[in-house]
């Protein structure tokens, strides 16, 4: 058999035989789904965290909020995601009949929130201090200045970084098979198990990750360039 035919045969077995490509695509859809909802949850929790940290830094009375936020972040960053995922899975699943994918979204969402909070803090910090002073000196409240003046500018710094966080999550969720979720990596492993050949299905999974990461990175830099252009208006 020629080299090419051999490769084709392996590819055929791993991807086309028994409509396995459907399983791959479904697995990849699951990967994207988990990442997407995790990023949404991460943003929701990250906003709360960022507000807590902002209040703690700017108002003496709110210091305890900052401590709570810091403990939360320390725990998240100080323990492996995989262990967190297993803990959440057994915590939720053994108690109720909730699908494993929910545990996955919860885990990666909580994890992401620590990074999102940091992204938001940095985005706000990058807005010139003079903007807050100008707003306050006009008699606007701190809240109103934040809402009408600081945040619209901060969002321009924050959005691209959130896109990046989504891309990071797509790769990080590859361990989610550990709690029985059929993501693309788990599908590749299953195919490997039934063929006794792991390399080809794993390469296929890797290629799918790579393709989407490259596409999303491109889209993101286009988006950033458009933002930069509207900045110069």
């Amino acid at each position: 058999m020629s080299w090419f035919a051999e490769v084709w045969e392996k590819f055929y077995k791993a991807f086309l035989e028994k409509d396995r490509y459907l399983a791959f695509l479904k697995g990849f859809a699951t990967t994207l789904e988990v990442s997407f909802f995790a990023v949404i949850l991460g943003v929701a929790l990250g906003v709360i965290l960022a507000i807590a940290k902002y209040m703690a830094a700017n108002h003496k009375g709110c210091r305890p909020l900052g401590w709570i936020a810091n403990i939360y972040i320390t725990i998240i960053r100080g323990t492996p995601v995989y262990v967190q995922m297993l803990i959440i899975y057994y915590l939720i699943l053994t108690a109720r009949g909730i699908p494993a994918i929910i545990s996955g979204v919860l885990c990666f969402g909580i994890n992401s929130s620590a990074y999102v909070a940091e992204i938001i803090r940095a985005g706000i910090e990058a807005v010139d201090r003079g903007q807050m002073e100008a707003g306050r000196s006009l008699g606007l409240s701190e809240m109103r200045t934040m809402k009408s003046i600081i945040m619209p500018q901060a969002v321009r710094n924050i959005l691209p970084a959130l896109g990046n966080e989504f891309i990071v999550l797509i790769k990080e969720t590859a361990v989610i098979g550990g709690i029985t979720v059929l993501d693309v990596t788990k599908v590749a492993m299953n195919v490997g198990n039934s063929n006794y050949a792991y390399l080809t299905p794993l390469l296929i999974a890797a290629f799918m990750y790579l393709a989407v990461v490259i596409i999303l990175t491109k889209l993101l830099s286009m988006f950033e360039r458009r933002l930069a252009k509207s900045d110069r208006r």
Binding site: D128, A134, G135, S137, L138, G139, L140, P152
Partner: protein, 241 residues
């Protein structure tokens, strides 16, 4: 209008204002000069409580505002316009929005009223055609005139200027000073930190010299520049004149 009593301000253990007593009358144009780091900006920023005094009090229109906070503080600041060295226009908003944001959000005017006021003020500085442009499209001198207009839209009782022309190219200083002079002639109460001695002489009703957190000498401008008494003021004037 503004009474400053025994004002002290420290940042950490660095004493920046070391006991300032000053009274600013309605309609006065007080010019503050002094070397870099002498506390001019801090003095100005204490008046509208952008900085909290460490000791002493600020009395504005008969009321002690030193401990004001929340809504009360916001109401006081509406009456004290402030103009910054770096303009601090809102880059994401059009000029019109820059001017109308505060009066509208604070419920002082409807959007239509505010728009009309903005156009009137813009015509006054000769920039009505800029209403729908963004700050990035303007020159420094135009930006600073718009920043002054933004403050004026709130109908303040007093205007505080912190080196309004220091960040400008020389050829743009004139247009900003001319507008400030107009304001002065219209009777606005003004406190101006500046290095423009010509402006101090021409427009000031009183000139204060600050050094190391104190007002070392003050006088009406003629006398102030003609026969300065303090050694440090003499030295300072010999450098800037």
């Amino acid at each position: 209008m503004i009474d400053v009593k025994n004002l002290h301000k420290s940042f950490g253990d660095k004493l920046v204002l070391d006991g300032i007593d000053e009274h600013i009358e309605k309609g006065e144009k007080v010019v503050v000069i002094g070397p870099s780091g002498s506390g001019k900006s801090t003095f100005l920023r204490c008046m509208n409580l952008l900085e909290r005094p460490t000791e002493g009090s600020i009395i504005f229109e008969g009321k002690d505002i030193t401990a004001a906070s929340g809504k009360e503080l916001n109401r006081i600041r509406q009456k004290m316009g402030m103009v910054f060295q770096h303009f601090n226009l809102f880059p994401h908003l059009t000029i019109r929005k820059n001017i109308t944001l505060a009066p509208v959000k604070l419920g002082l005017m409807s959007q239509e009223e505010a728009d009309a006021k903005a156009m009137e003020l813009l015509s006054r500085v000769g920039l009505p055609e800029k209403a729908d442009q963004y700050p990035a499209q303007l020159s420094g001198g135009q930006k600073q005139r718009i920043a002054i207009v933004r403050s004026l839209a709130m109908n303040p009782d007093v205007m505080l200027f912190d080196e309004p022309t220091s960040a400008l190219d020389p050829e743009m200083v004139r247009e900003v000073l001319d507008f400030m002079k107009q304001l002065a002639e219209d009777g606005m109460t003004m406190v101006v930190v500046t290095h423009e001695m010509g402006f101090a002489r021409e427009v000031g009703s009183r000139v204060l010299f600050m050094d190391e957190g104190r007002i070392v000498e003050q006088n009406e401008p003629g006398e102030f520049f003609a026969c300065p008494k303090d050694v440090r003021l003499k030295e300072f004037l010999s450098k800037v004149l």
